[in-house]
Symmetry: C3
Amino acid sequence: MSNLGTEMHELCSEMFPICRSITGNGFRQSLAMLSEHIPNLKAVEVPTGTKCFDWEVPKEWNIKDAYIITPSGKKICEFKNSNLHVLGYSTPVNNVVTLDELQDHLYSLPEQPNAIPYITSYYKERWGFCISQQERDLLEPGEYHVFIDSELKNGSLTYGELIIPGSSDKEIFLSSYLCHPSMANNELSGPVVTTFIAKWLSQLENRKYTYRIAIIPETIGSITYLSQHYKEMKKKVIAGFNITCIGDDRAYSYLPSRKGNTLSDRVALHVLKQSQPEYITYSYLERGSDERQYCSPGIDLPVCSVMRTKYGCYPEYHTSLDDLNLVTPAGLFGGFEVLKKSIECIEHNEVLRPTVLCEPQLGKRGLYPTISTKDTSAQVEDMMNFLAYADGMLSNLDIAEIIGVPLWELKDTIEKLKTEGVLEIVDI
Amino acid sequence: MSNLGTEMHELCSEMFPICRSITGNGFRQSLAMLSEHIPNLKAVEVPTGTKCFDWEVPKEWNIKDAYIITPSGKKICEFKNSNLHVLGYSTPVNNVVTLDELQDHLYSLPEQPNAIPYITSYYKERWGFCISQQERDLLEPGEYHVFIDSELKNGSLTYGELIIPGSSDKEIFLSSYLCHPSMANNELSGPVVTTFIAKWLSQLENRKYTYRIAIIPETIGSITYLSQHYKEMKKKVIAGFNITCIGDDRAYSYLPSRKGNTLSDRVALHVLKQSQPEYITYSYLERGSDERQYCSPGIDLPVCSVMRTKYGCYPEYHTSLDDLNLVTPAGLFGGFEVLKKSIECIEHNEVLRPTVLCEPQLGKRGLYPTISTKDTSAQVEDMMNFLAYADGMLSNLDIAEIIGVPLWELKDTIEKLKTEGVLEIVDI
Amino acid sequence: MSNLGTEMHELCSEMFPICRSITGNGFRQSLAMLSEHIPNLKAVEVPTGTKCFDWEVPKEWNIKDAYIITPSGKKICEFKNSNLHVLGYSTPVNNVVTLDELQDHLYSLPEQPNAIPYITSYYKERWGFCISQQERDLLEPGEYHVFIDSELKNGSLTYGELIIPGSSDKEIFLSSYLCHPSMANNELSGPVVTTFIAKWLSQLENRKYTYRIAIIPETIGSITYLSQHYKEMKKKVIAGFNITCIGDDRAYSYLPSRKGNTLSDRVALHVLKQSQPEYITYSYLERGSDERQYCSPGIDLPVCSVMRTKYGCYPEYHTSLDDLNLVTPAGLFGGFEVLKKSIECIEHNEVLRPTVLCEPQLGKRGLYPTISTKDTSAQVEDMMNFLAYADGMLSNLDIAEIIGVPLWELKDTIEKLKTEGVLEIVDI
C-alpha cells in the first residue's frame, strides 16, 4: 500500500487514545496534532452560552478519570483502558450505590455482547457508564463505588479552520468532525483524510479555487460554524464535501445533498461511477451528519458526502469494535483518492467553445492520423466526441458524462485542444 | 361494516327504482331525495333550446309506462318491472307490428344472454325496447302490440348545485351525475357518495376551501353547467374530482386529468398509493365521463377521477346486472374514505418554512429525546425529515411524497412544529 | 417489388462502375446521371484552395488507369476491374519496386481475405493499392512494376444543389454524399434515394415547405456547403435528414441529431416506431457522417439520420463486398418509404385549436353515431382523442404520439374536423 495510506493510519493511531468530545481539552489536543501536518490550521474558541441560531454553545466538558469498584473490590469500566466506558458529557460522581441503582446508569448492547457502546448525553445532565453486555451479566449484587472525575463548566467550544487561497475567491468547502473518542472509521478517518487532502492542496502550484476547511464537533459545531460564516459561504461556496467514515476498505458510498444535483453531487457521482462502479448510493433520507445543517432550508450549501462504509451501516459503528483494524491504510488511501479526484474534476471543470465552425481540421495540427482506415483510435474518438459537445454551454464534466469517459482521462486532450486554439474558455 | 356504508347503501336502494334520464321528472325526484341529506342543494332548471357552447339543451323526456304484448297475449318488456326495458329518450308508440318489424327496435346482448342492456338515443328520435337475449330468442312470429307512453316536449334540464363556503374563496369541485336509470355502481354510487361527502363537509367546524358540488346529467349536464360557470371556476377551482363508479368492492381506480399532474392528481395518487397500494391507474385515453368536458382544451379544470371499479371495466357495466348486490356498504364506504382523505390532504396542504436556520433545537422544546442511542425512533425520523424539506417552496404534500409517509400521519407532527413556532406558513 | 425499387436499383447499377472521389470527373459524371431524374439539380464548382471555415478545398484528383505487374508478368490490382484497387487520392507512380518496398504501399484485410478494402488518403500525399488478403498472400519476391496514372492539380470541388420551392420559405434539408467509388449501400443508395425523393417532391401539387437538397462529397463537402449557406440555413431549416446507407434490406436504423429532440428526431422516431417497430436506435456517439458538421456547435441544424443498416455495422462496409447484391430494390424502396412518410408527417404537422369550448356536438355534423351502445368504434375513438388534445399548443405530431396512432392514419380525420370548422390552425 502507498506511503500516504500508512502515514494516515499512523496519525489515526496516535490520536486514537485521546478522549474527545464536542468541547474540551481532548478536542483541542487532537486539533493540535492535525496542525503538525497543516500548520495554518487555526483553532477558534467560541464561549459557552454563545447563541448559534436556535442553539447555544454548551458548557465545556473535561474528564480526568473514571471507574467502578465492584463489591469484590475489582476495578471495572476503567476510563484509562477505554474512554468509551464513560457516558459522554457525564456529570461527576463519587458515590456508593447498590447494583440495582447502578443498572440505571449502565449502557450495553445485548446483540453485541463483547462491544462497549458509544453513548452521550449532551443536552441533559446525567452520569453513566458504558460496558460490554458480557461484563454486565457477571455483576453480582452488592455495593459499588462509582467514580467519575469530570467537570462541566463555562468554557468554550473549539473548532479548526483553514483557508487555502486560490486564483478565484469561489470556494470549495471541506468539513469533517473531531468529537468522537476512541473510534476509528467514525471518526478519526474523516479529520485525518481531510488533513492530508489539505496538505496536498497546500502544496499544489496552482489552485483555481479557494479551499475552506473546517474541523468541528458534529452538529453543534457545524451550527456554530455556520452561524458565524453562512452569509459569506452562501456567496462563495460552489461545492463541498462532508468527510466522514472514509477509512475502512469495504464499500464506497455516496449520500447526496438535499437538492441532489449540485456540482458536488455531479462530481462525486462521476468519480465514483468511473473509478468505483460498485459504489452504494444512499438517499438524503438516510443522512445523519453535518449535511443536515449544511443542506438545511435557507442554508442550502452544495454539500454531499463521499464515504467508504457509511455510519450506521456497519456492525462496529458507534462501539469499541470500530478500531484501528477496521480502518486500514488501503481504506484511507482509497478514500483520499476519491476525494482528490473529485477536487481535481472541479478544478478542471470549465465551459469551452469552439473557435471555428464545423469540425476543425485536426490533421494540419498533427492531432489526427492522415490515413483513414476501418479502425478508429479510441483516443481520437474521445477527442472528436469532446469537440462535438464543446458548445459553450456544456461544462467539461457534462461532456465527460455524456461521452462516458472519466474527466481525468480527457485532461490532456482538452489541454491540447486549448493550446492549438481550437477551443477557448467561456467566462461565465 | 360502518354505519355510513349501510346508510349510503340504503339511499341507493330507495333511489334505485326511479327512471332517471338526462332530463325529466325522474332526475328531479332523485335530486329531491339527495336534498333530504343536504338541504342546501339547489335545483336549477335550464330550458330546452338553451345554447350551451356547441350544444343545446334537448327536449325534456318523461315516461309513464311501456310494454309489449306478444302474439300469445303475454306482456313483456314491462317498464314497471325494469325501466331499462325502454330505450332511453324513446319516442311514444302505440302500434301493432310484425316480429320482423319489431326486431329493428330491440336491443340485446348475445354475450350476456340474461342481461337487459342500457341503451339511449338522446340525439336522434327513435323508439325501442331493451330485452335479454334469452327472452328475445323465444319470441315467436306474429303481431306484437308495442306501447310506450312517453313524452318529448319543451321543458328543461335540471341540475343540482351546492356551495359550501370556506375561509378561502378558492374552490374544490366535486361533480357526479344522476342520469342513469336502475343501475347501482354506474351510477347511484356516485351521487350518493358525493352527497355523504357533502354532508360531512357541511358539518366540519372549519373549512379552508369553498366546496362547489354539482349533481348533473352526464355530458350535456357538465357542458350546460360549464357554460354557466366556467369563467368563475377557472379562477377559483384548485382541485376537483369526478365521482362515479365508487360503490363496488373490487378495485380502486384512478384516471388522471388531461394534464396529469394537477393538485387533484397528486393528491389522489398520494392517497391511493399510501392507503390502497394495489389500485389501478388508467390513462386519460381511457376516459369516458365528465372529465371529458372539465379537462377539455380551454376549460382545463384540474379534475381527475377516483373510482372503485371503472365504468366499462366490469362485465355488469351498463346492464341490469349492475345492481344493489354489486354495490355494497363496504364498497361505498371504501370509496367515501378515499375521497375524504383526498379532501383532507388538500385542506392540510400548506407551504411551510422554518423560523430558524439549521436544525431547530428540539430537545429544549420537548420534541426530541435527550439521550442519543443506536436506535432511532420512527416518529422523530419523520419529524426530522419533514423539517429537512420544509423550505418555503415544497408543500406538505410534496414533502409527504418525498419522505414516503402519508400526509395524514404527519398531521400531528406538523401541528406541533407550528405550535412550537419552528415552522410558519408561507402565503402564496 | 415496386417499380420504384427497381428503378432505383437500376440507377445504382448504372452509376456503380464510376470512380468517384471527393473531387474530380467521377463525381461530376455521377451528378450528371442524377440530373437526368431531377433536371433542376445545379452543379456548383468551388476552386481548390477556397477557405471553408478551418479547412480549404483540396486539389482535384483524377485517375485514368492503374495496375501492378508482378515478377512473373501478371497484371494485378487493375483499376479497370475495380476502382477500389487504388488508394483514394493516390499520387501518380510509374516505377519498379521490390516486394518489400511494395508491401508498404499495400492495404488488405486479414479478417476478410476475399475483400478489397476501401482506403483513402485525402490530406497526406501517398500512393498505394488495395488488394484482397488472398491475393496478397500469393505475391512472390521479385521486382514489381507499379503504375498509377493519376493527377493531383488545382481544380475544384463539385457539389449538387436543388431548391424545390414551397408555400413557406421555411426549409426541409436533405443531404446525401456521392464521393465513394464502387460501393452500393455506402453509398449509392443515399444519393439515389434522395434523387427519387426529390423527384416525388417536385411532382407534388402543393408543398408547404421549401426543400433544400445537397449532393456533396462527405465531410469536406458538407463543410464547404455550410461555409456558403449556413447563415441562411440556420434561419430557414426546420428539419433535415442525412441520407446514407439506405438500400439494403436488413435493418432500419435511426441516429439522432446532437440535441436529440428536434422536429427531425421526433418525426423519424414516430415513423419508425409506427411503421418499422423493430428499428435500431444508435447514439450520437456512434455518428460518422455529415451530421458531424450539420450538428456541430454553432451550426446546430436539426439533422438526424434515418438509415437501413448503418455504416460500420455490417461486415461488407467499406469493402468490395458492399455491392449490388447487398443493396436490393426492396431495400431501397423501404428506405424511400420511411423518408417519404417522415416528410409527409412534417408537411401535415400543424398546431390546431378548438373553435368551441367543451367537446363539439359531432352528431349534428354527421361525425358521430347517434345511438350509444356498449361498443365504441376505433375511428370515433381516434377522433375524440385527437380533439381532447388539440389545445392550440400541442402539434398534430405531439398528439399522434400521445394517442399512439400514426399521423398518416389521422390525416383524414383532421381534415374533416377542419372542414367542419371544429378545429382551426394556430399561427405560430
